[in-house]
Symmetry: C2
Subunit: 115 residues, 2 copies
């Protein structure tokens, strides 16, 4: 199935880990330090509870974030970036910079809302 000389492009490797726009925004939010589930939900505009849960689980499995559960009532869960997650920060920072500069342009492009 695999072509003989197929060398996966490094950008593609990165995209496979970022996976979708929610995950990028989750990582971006976690740059500011540990966050509880509800905080992430509030900070990431438009994400559903289900999507947030699914993405957090998968990111945990892949080692991008760490999840710490406190045995308390009411429950408390904290999410943080792992060291691999933190290694992605430079990418996020370039995106942040670009988005900031872009807003200064005289003629904004039409932007759709999907990813």
């Amino acid at each position: 199935m695999m072509k003989k000389n197929y060398i996966p492009c490094p950008v593609e490797t990165t995209l496979q880990l970022l996976e979708n726009r929610w995950r990028v925004l989750i990582i971006y939010d976690l740059i500011g330090g540990k966050k509880r589930f509800g905080e992430l939900k509030r900070n990431i505009s438009g994400i559903s509870q289900r999507s947030l849960t699914l993405n957090l689980r998968s990111m945990e499995e892949r080692g991008l974030i760490e999840r710490k559960v406190y045995a308390e009532i009411p429950p408390k869960v904290e999410y943080t970036l792992s060291s691999i997650g933190r290694s992605l920060i430079p990418i996020l920072k370039s995106m942040e910079r670009w988005g900031t500069d872009y807003k200064k342009l005289p003629m904004p492009l039409p932007a759709k809302h999907s990813l």
Copy 2:
């Protein structure tokens, strides 16, 4: 519908323009200079003709790329990055760098194939 003090996050602005993984790979491929449709199709592993066409059209509309049609038989079309498209190069370069470094890790993470 708009919350009073909603300030769209700059990262989200960037994500809205990148839109999906194919577009990121298209831009990445165009960094190397102008490309014909068939070249893009060959270089971007796994993309269908339909997806490539749709994404190129939308990227052209949004001003990320430029499309030049030569009135020849057989047809010839060349795609290049616009200046706004080129302004995204630093982001792509960080992704490239990250992907390259990541492959050197002793324990690769499980990578899924979707985006």
